[in-house]
């Protein structure tokens, strides 16, 4: 079998090397190379689909090589439906981000080519983190990923960028180190039970871990993921990071990278520690609901566009976690679909907000107004992105949000009902933003803003197309997700509740 995943990871990695080697000052060339390479990676990821059997819930496209044999560490990659979609999300968003960020790196602390090289490195790591099937390898990518993001925020962001970058890094490192402690424990336990230590995720799910210990280890993983996701109350790094980052970085950060948190819950925290997961479920459900409502309320109160979007993401991540820990097939599938949809929807919001901000040289909502008259295309795309954020039926996020809610309702009706209040709040934060920035009289300073350029249209069009098409045809995605979800539920040992009135 062709090593698809390794190839997919190597292409951007090599590409970043190529860009780094380009002569100084050839910025345009660097951009073009970056775009070309990300498109090649996208192509490869699409070709990869041909070898993927969509009806199987197990790991596919598997590669495995010894890496650090003394610790039983392997370079082992493979994907199930969930990982596959997240990898696709990364490879699709990467060229879009590159195209959208064409001129964003000019005012950075470092050269333009450094920006694009970092983006490509990040893409490679993102592929790696979703593809890893060895817990150690996963951890390595999980942490290594921080470095390019850290430099992207710190070097190319706005004001307060270094504070935000440090905050992001320290939060993530803290969580990662807790996870490391749990990973070490897993390794030692596997050594005791299997005779030789292993990090293979499939093998590790067969461990017998005592209840008490399982809870501690679960917490180690979960807190790391909850910080990454981010779940209330581990969220405060996100608004700062996003407000300081360039829009392109923000897209990759919130759209893809943070999905590692929820992906990790699904792929690692649940199957490895099913009993502990069930034990903590009530608490996590409560945290998720708080995130949903809290994020939305804070979004309503924001005065800065990017911070507002960041808080909406906190709310949306609450939905995802809710769906995962509802542990019903609708909840899990919905949460997975939500990860993908949220990626596109936030991408649209951040990119367009970024264009608005770079034109107006301000990110305060109050500085905008009347954009619909000045820049109709930009206003329209922003509006659609906003509608996607409030999960308007017919757009992709609705399907996932509703699946999450329905899946939660069958097990925890009150949780679902409270979370549903989130849809009212979502209307508020989106519409307030829309009204203040797009409607009303043309605010002073906005009279001559240029509308979207051709390049920007090309960048945003595929995102919006995906949002709309997936709203009506989520089936191809769900077909890939469902078998994996079935498998996960088997491993965790849960089944869907039966209809109460069906007898």
């Amino acid at each position: 079998m062709f090593p698809w995943l390794t190839t997919l990871g190597l292409i951007p990695l090599i590409g970043s090397g190529v860009i780094a080697l380009l002569p100084k000052g050839r910025d345009l060339l660097a951009k073009q190379v970056a775009l070309a390479i990300s498109l090649v990676a996208l192509l490869v990821s699409l070709l990869m689909l041909a070898d993927f059997q969509k009806n199987s819930g197990g790991l596919q496209l598997v590669e495995s090589h010894n890496w650090i044999a003394s610790f039983g560490i392997k370079y082992a990659v493979g994907v199930d439906g969930i990982a596959l979609l997240l990898i696709l999300l990364a490879t699709i968003l990467a060229p879009i981000v590159i195209l959208a960020s064409w001129n964003e790196a000019e005012n950075g602390r470092f050269s333009v080519k450094a920006f694009f090289a970092l983006i490509l490195i990040l893409e490679a790591f993102m592929v790696g983190v979703f593809a890893a099937t060895d817990v150690f390898l996963f951890y390595v990518f999980f942490e290594a990923m921080l470095i390019p993001v850290y430099f992207l925020i710190g070097s190319f962001g706005g004001t307060q960028r270094s504070y935000a970058a440090v905050k992001f890094l320290l939060y993530s490192l803290f969580g990662g180190l807790l996870m490391l402690a749990a990973v070490i424990a897993l390794y030692v336990i596997s050594k005791d039970q299997f005779g030789a230590g292993t990090f293979d995720i499939t093998a590790l799910t067969k461990l017998h871990i005592g209840v008490q210990l399982q809870r501690w280890l679960f917490l180690g993983f979960f807190i790391a993921f909850a910080i990454k996701a981010p779940l209330w109350p581990f969220h405060t790094w996100l608004p700062d990071a996003v407000a300081a980052a360039t829009p392109g970085t923000a897209v990759l950060l919130v759209g893809v990278l943070d999905k590692v948190g929820t992906f990790g819950m699904l792929r690692y925290a649940l199957p490895l520690f099913p009993d502990a997961a069930k034990f903590f479920t009530p608490a996590i459900i409560v945290l998720s609901i708080i995130s949903v409502i809290y994020g939305a309320l804070l979004a309503i109160g924001q005065t800065d566009i990017k911070r507002l979007i960041a808080f909406t993401s906190i709310s949306h991540f609450g939905f995802i976690t809710l769906g995962i820990f509802a542990m019903t097939s609708q909840g899990l599938s919905g949460a997975t679909l939500y990860m993908v949809n949220h990626g596109f929807s936030t991408a649209a919001l951040f990119l367009i907000a970024g264009w608005m901000i770079s034109r107006r040289k301000s990110s305060l909502i109050s500085d905008f107004g009347g954009l619909q008259r000045v820049t109709p295309v930009m206003a329209w795309t922003f509006f659609i992105a906003g509608m996607s954020a409030l999960a308007l039926p017919g757009l992709s996020s609705f399907v996932s949000e509703f699946l999450v809610l329905v899946g939660t309702f069958t097990r925890y009706p009150w949780a679902a009902i409270i979370a549903t209040v989130g849809i009212i709040l979502a209307a508020l934060y989106v519409l307030i933003l829309v009204q203040r920035s797009l409607h009303g009289p043309i605010a002073p300073g906005n009279e001559n803003l240029p509308d979207l350029s051709r390049r920007e249209k090309y960048a945003i069009a595929p995102v919006l197309a995906v949002i709309i098409v997936l709203g009506f045809f989520p089936k191809p995605l769900l077909d890939v997700i469902n078998p994996t979800v079935v498998q996960t539920m088997q491993v965790v040992g849960v089944t869907d509740p039966a209809p109460t009135g069906g007898k």
Binding site: S70, L170, A185
Partner: protein
């Protein structure tokens, strides 16, 4: 009483002999070779002897033997540590030999005897004299270091301790610039070092009183047969431990470390920080794993406590440092704590983890201090943190390399530091010390802060107007940095071969 002629296996102690012999040769060079040629001679002798010794170590590969009437043990850990020490020493000697950095020609004072600021000093400087005594001193210290982890009895250990320490006391005081600081460092190091070695010696006496012998295997037997008065033994162990923990700078015996690291000439600091820690931990491992393994239930709680205090206080102290060398010193204290978590595991994994950690840490340290020598202003090295701001703008390569070392210190994956931390924490956890692992992990989190602070400073802060310049690294420093950086990366990305080597080596002979 019968006396017999001691049998000395010269082949097995060859590496030590080569280095000490070269040191003696170096002294002769100082005496007989014209001043203008001494530098070349010394460098060639030093590097040549170290390489030769390394070859000898490689040739001894697989040896497992108690040599020299039980005084020297040549086994896996000894050879691994000796090899590591020799490679680190190459880096150290390269830095010491560097003449392209300081405008005066060398990092060392022309005449250690002249008064700082006196006419004599100016004359000495003006004459362009560059002293070369530091090379034999380095070799003597290295000889002691090579012997330290191989010592099969407490007296040899004591002698090795003194042989490695005495030259270092002197070398600390040889700085060309900021000589008052340098002399202060030497004095503090000397007084405290002597004080702590007195503890070691008295502890040895007590253990001797218990076991009737100072050889580690003899002590081991005495403990297992439970001969004599435990009280004496336990006190002896505690006092011996004081002497050894002083050398690895564990809290509360760490106090000399920041002052000496800061005051000493940076190449010496690099050599000392990397090699002393490796050698001293080698001795600790041998003492506790061989001599005192029967006593582990007594000393494990004590060492665990030291490890916890060392990790936590090390990182907390480092958090608000403003001097680069001093910060690295505190960080080296914290790392001593991390290595101790591997030591207290008292299993094979612990031994392997500690050995790997030592190698990883040693190379990173050489590299980090090497880079400190590069950042200079008109008064010499610019070690204040604020002077490093915006460094990446001026010299992205140097800044990136330094970032690599810092990330390795912080234990970020794909650097040697991460594998090392994983190895010792896994060992500690498997021996049931989950509390140590938790403390270690949390300290790592705190530690990340000050490493990252430096990276922020270098990459994201605005450069100062009158900031220091980064000298383009001359050949020797470049070589040292390259060696350090490549080992740091290789041990992070492809550590398998080294881990396998350690796995086969990690067996003590007694």
């Amino acid at each position: 009483m019968n006396f017999h002629v001691p049998v000395i296996q010269y082949a097995e102690v060859l590496p030590i002999l080569i280095v000490l012999g070269a040191a003696v040769l170096g002294v002769l060079v100082e005496a007989f070779i014209p001043r203008s040629l001494r530098y070349v001679f010394q460098v060639v002798i030093s590097l040549g002897s170290i390489l030769l010794a390394f070859v000898a170590v490689v040739r001894l590969h697989g040896t497992s033997h108690v040599a020299v009437e039980g005084s020297v043990v040549v086994d896996g850990p000894t050879l691994f540590l000796q090899g590591t020490l020799l490679l680190l020493a190459i880096g150290g000697v390269l830095l010491i030999a560097e003449r392209g950095l300081d405008t005066g020609g060398s990092a060392f004072t022309a005449h250690a005897a002249t008064l700082p600021g006196s006419e004599a000093e100016r004359t000495a400087l003006a004459s362009g004299i560059i002293q070369t005594e530091v090379f034999p001193l380095t070799l003597f210290a290295l000889g002691g270091m090579l012997l330290f982890p191989a010592a099969g009895d407490l007296v040899t250990m004591f002698v090795a301790l003194e042989v490695l320490s005495l030259p270092l006391y002197l070398m600390s005081g040889l700085a060309r610039r900021r000589r008052l600081l340098s002399q202060e460092a030497a004095l503090k190091y000397f007084l405290l070092g002597a004080f702590s070695s007195a503890f070691f010696l008295y502890g040895s006496a007590l253990i001797y009183g218990y076991a009737g012998t100072v050889s580690l295997s003899g002590i081991r037997e005495a403990i297992s047969s439970n001969a004599g008065n435990d009280l004496v033994l336990l006190m002896g162990v505690a006092l011996v431990t004081v002497g050894l923990l002083f050398k690895v700078s564990a809290v509360p015996f760490h106090a000399w470390t920041p002052d000496v690291y800061q005051g000493a000439p940076t190449p010496v600091t690099a050599f000392m920080a990397a090699c002393t820690k490796v050698a001293a931990f080698g001795a600790i491992l041998r003492l506790f794993y061989v001599g005192l393994s029967g006593l582990r239930w007594d000393w494990r709680p004590m060492l665990s406590g030291v490890a916890i205090v060392t990790m936590v206080l090390g990182v907390i102290w480092a958090l608000t440092q403003t001097d680069m060398k001093r910060m690295l010193a505190y960080s080296s204290i914290a790392h001593a704590g991390f290595i101790l978590t591997g030591v207290v595991a008292v299993n094979k994994a612990g031994l392997e983890g500690s050995l790997f950690y030592l190698a990883a840490y040693g190379f990173t340290t050489i590299g980090a201090f090497a880079i400190v020598t590069l950042v200079r202003d008109s008064t010499g090295e610019a070690t204040h943190l604020s002077q490093w701001s915006g460094l990446a703008r001026r010299s992205p390569l140097v800044a990136s390399t330094f970032a690599l070392f810092l990330l390795a210190y912080a234990g970020i994956p794909l650097t040697s530091g991460f594998v090392a931390k994983f190895a010792v924490f896994a060992a500690a956890y498997s021996s049931g010390s989950s509390a140590l692992v938790i403390v270690g992990v949390l300290s790592s989190a705190i530690a990340a802060f000050f490493y990252i602070r430096v990276i922020v400073l270098m990459f994201f802060a605005e450069p100062k107007e009158d900031g220091p310049t980064v000298v383009v690294p001359p050949i020797m420093t470049t070589a040292a940095i390259t060696l350090a950086a490549s080992v740091t990366l290789v041990l992070g990305v492809m550590p398998s071969s080294v881990l396998d080597l350690i796995k086969s080596a990690a067996r003590f002979t007694f």
